[in-house]
Amino acid sequence: MSHVHDHNPTPPADRDGPLTYYQAMEGAVRALLIEKGIISADEVRAAIEAMDARGPAQGAKVVARAWSDPAYKARLLADGTAACEELGIDMGPTRLVVVENLEKLHNVIVCTLCSCYPRMLLGLPPDWYKARAYRSRVVRAPRAVLREFGTEIPDDWQICVHDSTADMRYMVLPRRPDGTDGLDEAALAELVTRDCMIGVTRPTTP
């Protein structure tokens, strides 16, 4: 097996194909905007850095507060955007709807038309969230899809799938796990993962 290198495929990092139509257009528009002094290359870089820096810790902070403070939870369910801004999260134009998991109700989020996602709270969406397989199947067979994520929803529970088709963005407020009474907000936030807030899994006790 020592001379297989001739047949090795190109490593993924070296597989740069020719630019697609939209890649070429984006590059051309960006170059023009920079050349005309409307934006700078450093501003573009900083915007990408800021986008990449957003992550599920923001959402976890919101969930932990809602678990600890019933009045905050009520405000979060009534107006998700305002309740997140209360915690200093910059929501921009995002209109957030928070859907609460109950004793026998499980919520899960999808965007069947594209990949709408609460980026201000969870960062960039995972690849599977953007894949056609997830988007087309979770609205039609949510129980089977959740089972593939290791999440079994009993038959006497209801599942509600939330399809972000227009201007709202969604986040699941999971149920607080049993046995976490003594934990403070920071410790509770540690239990809240990205996938819990999409609704493909549930938080577990440490």
Binding site: V139, R140, M168
Partner: protein, 98 residues
């Protein structure tokens, strides 16, 4: 201003216009229940062509039973899907239709 209120039964238009449409195919021609009024938003079908999308239009969250969407749905009867739909895609439906 808004034509529908939470609890109203609505039927989604079963039409296939060209262009940028935010009403998924799987709910067209289906009957659901208004879950909430989300407020007024620019019409994405106009925005997609570089126009202003005005006047703003009411946007609703509509709840559909899974069995209404997929006649062969395997899960329990309580399972549902909620979808955002603009008012101009909806018409009143009889309250007692299944």
């Amino acid at each position: 201003m808004a034509r529908f209120s939470p609890g109203d039964r609505v039927l989604v238009h079963d039409i296939r216009p060209p262009g940028h449409i935010r009403t998924p195919l799987y709910v067209r021609g289906k009957t659901g229940t208004i879950e909430r009024n989300c407020g007024l938003f620019a019409n994405p079908e106009e925005l997609a062509f570089g126009r202003d999308g005005l006047p703003l239009r009411p946007l609703y969250r509509v709840r559909f039973k899974q069995a209404e969407l997929w006649p062969d749905y395997q899960g329990p009867a309580g399972d549902a899907v909620e979808v955002e739909i603009f008012e101009h895609w909806l018409e009143p439906a009889e309250r007692d239709t299944p």
